[in-house]
Symmetry: C2
Subunit: 322 residues, 2 copies
DNA sequence: AACTACGATAGACTATAGTCTATGATTAGA
DNA sequence: TCTAATCATAGACTATAGTCTATCGTAGTT
């Protein structure tokens, strides 16, 4: 009986129905495909009829599945409306949001804040774009409400909510010998000079961890303190680099850079919205958290599709079908 | 954030909002008041604003609580609609329901079946009204789909869903010396002759258990094999009896009987819809289970208010206010 | 003041919900 | 045929949801 279902099951169902893919839904929900599979099986058992049918490798909603999707949308819409009313009642009319983000996040955070400020026009925002080291310092000093990080610091008791994919890609100059090749073996990179961010940066940590796990020792030719500098060094032929695909989002001309199609890349990382666990969040900070939680489905689609050359054809082709 | 709420919490909230009483809601949900209290506290913490306010001993919905009640009703209505669609899709258009009930249940089960058959006109119903002993035999022999009992047999692996209150009351002749008295001490009954059902009946088990737990030894003057016979014996002055309040529901003239206001009574028992756990229920039986699950709120109000002399003033006065 | 009724809280416990890794089955494409 | 992609299942584990009994606090009534 559907009334014994859980909202979690319904959320999972809705994500699968929208994506028409268990795996995509799992990624979106920051969980694994078997979890999605099990949740859907439980829901299907409750309903007593199949909600999806599989034709070849594709899944389609059954008629009953279509009806349940409508019901889900009604329900979640009703809950969203209620949340708006609650925020209004709480007087989220004015206040200040203090947000510190690491530098790569500057490519998308201002847009997020723009949307947020449209919804809550009375809220002031203080945005600091700084490197990871300084973010960590500010966390310790409790100087902000929330932080955007690519790698939450494990040595601190933080709550970290993933809200956006942060794919790390291999960048090379457009005229690089490997440009345009498909499925470049990872070993091929061992002879390439690398340009990396400074020790301590999240991207560097992730890069070193990945190559270390695959038994590849990379040659670091140069360390630079900013993403822009790294991109210029790559364009200048000084080496290749691993950077967040988000760093390409604002380029008005990407002809000088290319993303290499390397096996194992892009590394699927996330952006996290984080705060110290003991921190008592302000109403405004909670509103921003809720806003991000509500909008994060849209975020995944909006920002990655704007990155030229990023292998996001799955998302794009799916979008055309829907 | 309300989206992390559970449907259970919302159900509890809705029951409290409708009843404007934690205790009444707990009874309706067949659970305890602290459970309700905790669930509501969790929900309130999620919302971040009070959902009820207490003025004196009465609780009232806050404005936000009112809104949440609307949202709940929308959501549960959407789910109910979906269940209808599912039943249709499953083809609950025709079939047979085999139901056996103990004799006291004859006072209300036909009405239930009437409502059920209105909704599913193509379904045939076989209803057997028999004593408890025979019900148990039929369970063992797997002769029916579902059973209505006042006391599920503990020695069998049964699923038993409570769906209606079955209050056990003390009946006496209208001219009994204790008639009209308030808060009659339990000890006063020790000197009264009792007329009981046969050993093995659920009512008798419950009666003996209650008095045994209170250290009262009752004098059994007579055992009779039917509720009607017991009532006639009570009217005739042969003693008092403990019977389900439901036995009074069909009386066109209750002037010869009265319900004594004894401390500890009415005993709050339930009617159960039960089936053997290993039983694979037919689509029709499942539909009846779902029907009862959906309608059980209404049942509690409808049937008990019809019992003349039953102390149900709380329900009646609340109904007038709503 | 004593008693009753009702909601709130503490503490303890059980049930179940949710999740993961590993692996199997199936399909489509090269 | 092989590889890749995707969903299904098994088994194990953790987290949390739900619940109860006992008791306290408050308000209203007698």
């Amino acid at each position: 009986m559907i009334k014994n279902a859980s909202l979690r099951q319904l959320k999972v169902f809705e994500a699968v129905a929208r994506n028409l893919s268990y795996t995509r839904a799992a990624e979106e929900l920051f969980t694994t495909q078997p979890t999605v599979s099990i949740q859907l099986k439980q829901l299907t058992d409750l309903v007593g009829l199949p909600l999806f049918e599989q034709v070849g490798k594709k899944i389609y909603l059954t008629d009953i599945g279509q009806e349940l999707l409508k019901v889900c949308n009604e329900m979640f819409e009703a809950l969203s409306r209620f949340e708006m009313m609650v925020s209004d009642a709480k007087g989220v009319k004015a206040g200040k949001l203090r947000l510190s983000v690491i530098t790569t996040a500057k490519y998308f955070v201002p847009r997020l804040l723009g949307l947020f400020c449209q919804r809550y026009p009375g809220i002031d925002v203080s945005l600091k774009v700084i490197n990871r080291e300084m973010v960590l310092q500010r966390i310790v000093a409790n100087m902000d409400d929330l932080y955007v990080l690519g790698q939450p610091p494990e040595q601190m008791d933080m709550v970290a909510e993933p809200f956006l994919e942060n794919p790390l890609v291999v960048l090379a100059a457009a005229n690089h010998p490997m440009a345009g090749k498909k499925n470049i073996p990872l070993k091929s990179l061992a002879t390439e000079p690398f340009v990396l961010r400074e020790s301590g940066s999240g991207t560097r940590l992730a890069t070193e961890k990945f190559f270390s796990e695959h038994g590849i020792k990379i040659k670091v030719r140069m360390e630079l303190g900013s993403n822009e500098a790294i991109k210029q060094a790559v364009i200048g032929g000084l080496g290749i680099a691993v950077l967040s695909a988000h760093t390409l989002a604002l380029e008005h001309s990407n002809n000088e850079l290319t993303i290499l199609d390397v096996k194992g890349f892009p590394l699927h990382r996330n952006w996290y919205l984080a705060y110290h666990r003991g921190k008592s969040l302000t109403v405004v900070a909670k509103a921003f958290l809720d806003f991000i939680e509500t909008e994060k489905k849209l975020l995944g689609e909006t920002y990655l599709t704007r990155i030229s050359g990023f292998p996001s054809k799955n998302i794009q082709s799916k979008k055309k079908k829907m």
